[in-house]
Amino acid sequence: MRRILNVNITEKLLAKAGGKPSVAPGDIVFANVDKVMIHDVSGPGVIKVFDKLKKEGTVNVEKLWNPSMVWVAEDHFVPSAEKISAENVMKLSKFTKQYGIEKHFKYGMGQYGICHTLSHEEALVLPGEIYVGGDSHTNTTGALGAFACGLGHTDVAYVLLNGKIWFKVPETLYFKLNGKLPENVMAKDFILKIIGDIGNDGAAYAAMQFGGSGVSEMSVESRLTLCNMTTEAGAKNGIVEPDQKLFDYLASRGAGSYTPVYGDKDAQYDKVYEYEASELEPLVAKPYSPENIAVVRDVSGVELDKSYIGSCTGAKYEDLEAVAKILKGRKVKIRTEILPAAISIYKRAMENGLLKIFLDAGVTVGPPTCGACCGAHMGVLAKDEVCISTTNRNFPGRMGHVESQTYLSSPLVAAASAVTGKITDPRDL
């Protein structure tokens, strides 16, 4: 359906970036890209594509389209898990030096962390922009009013050299939340509920937009959690319309100037889903799929070996605050790891006494890393090990052994479960 009036934000962003007066779902645009991110997995992958192109001699790979629009994170296998990972990190350093990329967040040198967390902590992406990253959870950053989309190595290499990439304009699914989330229910519970309802491919190739009074009430960090897991429903991008709360958040992180883009007042969507906040409650996704949703109180007897609080989904400052609220004055009964998602968050957690609460509770606090979330290192799971985790995926083998089990939950549920050793609703603690 071609919309001339009542155009939604994703369509407006892609029309503008594609230099077209209007676009409709299904149209192909070659969009000008504003920002690009690579990390220690996609970076070496891109370098490999560059090497191949150089060998073929058909494409000039000596210069990037705009090195000042590119930033580099080290997150999946850092601090270097073993020597291959160490070599990948060295490749990144060589690459950023060769191409004049200044924004390289190196571990052991001040601010670094998970790529998606840096995108908001450092205000690297701004409202109205087109942002692509070599990671599927790039969708996270759509909470900043940008079109944010994950791509593979070849596509990212293409953007680095040409400053643009093709997109099929997605249909938009609009998720409206009425009312404020109740106490002990987090944005993570809302997005798990949605994925349970629409399924792992319920938003395949589509945009997922979040709005309504419940989303307006939410912090920017909560909105980031919503957009983060749109990937788990197959979405091309997640997005929230910019508002004053976002502008204040970005200003507090030193954002420069930008021009926000909004959908029209009566923007049209391909499908609208409506939820009442008061009806939501703590949920988990059971093994082995993010769509495999259960109410926490229905699975509260499940015995656990581990609680993992980390990742771009569940280790932002607000997530750690929620965990601290539960762990204060209590002890954990199972192995519990907390890995703040960036050094800036780690530091705030230290300054505000959160780290002391965690250590007093018996938790191991680790450095920022994707770590065990992607089965890389720092706490991967053994055969038959059962873990509750604030991360985003629980496919077989995601966090380690193919027969380990991961339950996805909010930080509050993961913390309450750490205290009892069983899956626990924070309201029952």
Binding site: N88, Y158, G375, F395, G397
Partner: protein, 162 residues
Amino acid sequence: MMAGKVIKYERDNIDTDVILPGTYLKLHDYDEIAKHAMEGIDPNFHARVKKGDFIVAGKNFGCGSSREHAPIALSHCGITAVLALSFARIFYRNAVDGAFLLPIEIDETAYRKISENDQLEINTQKNEIKNLTKNETYSMKPFSDIISKIIAAGGLFKYKPD
């Protein structure tokens, strides 16, 4: 025209963590990556796959991460096409833009009728899949305009936008 034998996984949501488990993301040598293809659900895959083979699977094939390692692993084992009820978007565009393999959408009938070890012949010009073992013919969903052009060019870097 492509011809080969079928390796069938009768399941949906075959995700990138089973196509190439996360622990191998640090690898960037394509042949090394290929040794671990499908390890999450089929540790024997690398030993039994032959050059030219096809994978047949259910819906949402390749969901999960953006790792290009997934189509790389399959193509460097010899897989030339994956036939599935549907694909996750990043796997689909990685397969096409990197010119690793063809992601072919099939319907329920074809999915049901094609069995492990069937010999197929695929004609993407005619959008036709011939099952030589069963003497049946199925249709495939035609590629969209841009996808056809990128495939014909041999990947995104060789494609010249109109």
